[in-house]
């Protein structure tokens, strides 16, 4: 059989591809905003020198269990549990909501450990300085500790976010119309699987570059300033 590439047949389905890009970006954006916030909260609970001495014991156990559970199970199992398993317990979620929740809890767990590393790297003197300036605990955390901590770990957090974005390709399995779903649908309509996956592969590559640069810029601009 002769291999003839026909990208036209795939590109003609551009509305599907566009919808796919839209969903992939929307899921990623939601996961970044909520997942990072969740990560910061959980990192505070787990970090020694901050919440680990203040947070109640049960909360530490819950957060610790959450982090271990998510970091030691595959994403697709978490997704299927939420989509196929939870309805048995009475929580019926749409494919999109299930995908969103799965991505948030997944990123949240990884972000927890990444951010915790940043928090624990804060020099003791800085906290003592803040206390001697009569800053409250909350002020110390949000103004003195968090910005430099985020700055230190930002590259690893951005990498994790990109991994989660690429991981969203699994969400197509439960009929969320993200980019891989578009590729699968296109190739099952016209059997141009090679071309469809080349096109989508290139699109993922571009999306990853774009997201990485956007986040590097956004972090420096809104969270911790440029060095």
């Amino acid at each position: 059989m002769r291999i003839q590439l026909d990208f036209g047949a795939v590109l003609a389905e551009w509305p599907l591809l566009l919808t796919g890009i839209g969903w992939t970006l929307a899921l990623t954006a939601a996961a970044v905003l909520v997942g990072t916030a969740l990560g910061i909260a959980c990192a505070w609970v787990r970090a020694r020198g901050f919440g680990a001495e203040l947070a109640p014991r049960w909360l530490q156990v819950v957060v610790g269990g959450y982090v271990e559970l998510i970091r030691n199970t595959p994403f697709i199992v978490q997704l299927f549990f939420i989509f196929f398993g939870l309805p048995a317990a009475g929580f019926k979620l749409s494919a999109e909501t299930a995908s969103f929740i799965a991505m948030v809890i997944n990123l949240g767990a990884y972000a927890t450990e990444i951010i915790r590393a940043g928090l624990e790297a804060t020099p003791k003197g800085q906290i003592e300085a803040a206390v001697s300036l009569a800053l409250t605990r909350l002020q110390t955390f949000t103004r003195v500790v968090l910005p430099p901590a985020l700055q230190k770990i930002w590259p690893s957090l951005v990498s994790q976010i990109v991994i989660v974005m690429l991981g969203s390709s699994v969400c197509g399995q439960i009929s969320t119309q993200e980019l891989s779903y578009a590729a699968d649908l296109i190739q099952s309509n016209n059997f141009r699987s090679f071309e469809a996956f080349i096109v989508v592969g290139v699109l993922y590559l571009l999306l990853s570059f774009a997201v990485r640069h956007l986040l590097n810029w956004a972090g420096a601009t809104f969270l911790f300033g440029r060095r």
Partner: protein, 265 residues
């Protein structure tokens, strides 16, 4: 700059055409290749009982597997089963992972553009199934309802043709995921092959699901790579013989509990 770019493009074009030439010299040899390598690779599914599913010894069994073994026996070569899902059946042929696809494969014009089909070997139909308490008289009644379907399966394409604009079609990777979505209540209806749906309903009586609308009566064909006419003629000969000798009828009785019926050539 322009020159170096042109050079590179030229080199790439040269490499590509060499690749095409290498892969192009490959017509009409499938049958000889199989007889020479002494193995017949057959793509089957394991998520569409009773045609193809996993038996108690964790090996694929079913009508399609019997059919694969029958063809292997007649060709005098052992059969190697390649397990595929619905959407990867045709790519398995295109990428030569399999010589034949025997996996409840229906025939339609879109598929005929990329692969060839043997004569039909077993009966099959697709339909929409749903709960007894939602009345559905025609496809128009499905508007505003969610229907689960296996992506790339015949049901997907047939549903696309007849479903009104308001239908929320949810596509899943394989029959198991589609059924899981229905049993979990994630979709209100499912479009499935009749036998698969039959199994689902027997195993889940609590769903009180029933047959709603016929999508298509579509017997199963064996998929063969495009242009392998010699191989196709051989497979057709085996099917015709098996039909005459009653072997196909016995297979249908054994797995489907029904007669072969009238199968198109």
């Amino acid at each position: 700059m322009t020159l170096s770019l042109n050079k590179r493009t030229f080199a790439l074009a040269l490499a590509t055409s060499a690749l095409l030439a290498a892969t192009g010299a490959h017509a009409q040899t499938a049958l000889d290749d199989i007889l020479k390598s002494k193995v017949l690779k057959v793509a089957v599914q394991t998520d569409s009982a009773p045609y193809g599913f996993v038996g108690t010894d964790l090996k694929p069994i079913g009508l399609d597997v019997d059919m694969a073994n029958l063809i292997g026996k007649k060709l005098g070569v052992p059969v190697e089963l390649v397990v595929v899902v619905s959407a990867s059946r045709i790519p398995a042929l295109q990428t030569k992972k399999a010589d034949l696809v025997i996996a409840t494969l229906g025939k339609n014009p879109e598929r005929e553009k990329v692969i060839d089909f043997s004569s039909a070997y077993s009966p099959f139909f697709q339909a929409v199934f749903g709960p007894k308490n939602i009345a559905v008289k025609s496809f128009a009644d499905l508007a505003g309802k969610s229907v689960g379907v296996t992506r790339g399966a015949m049901e997907d394409q047939e549903l696309g043709k007849v479903a009104p604009a308001g239908v929320d079609t949810k596509r899943f990777e394989d029959n198991n995921a589609t059924i899981a979505a229905f049993t979990a209540g994630q979709v209100q209806f499912v479009a499935l092959g009749a036998s698969v749906a039959g199994n689902m309903m027997t195993k889940n009586p609590q769903l009180s699901a029933e047959y709603k609308l016929l999508l298509k009566d579509s017997p199963n064909f064996i998929g063969i790579a495009k242009g392998e006419d010699k191989f196709k003629a051989k497979v057709n000969e085996i099917i015709a013989d098996a039909k005459k000798s009653g072997e196909l009828e016995a297979m249908a009785k054994k797995w489907l509990g029904r007669s072969l019926g009238d199968l198109p050539l």
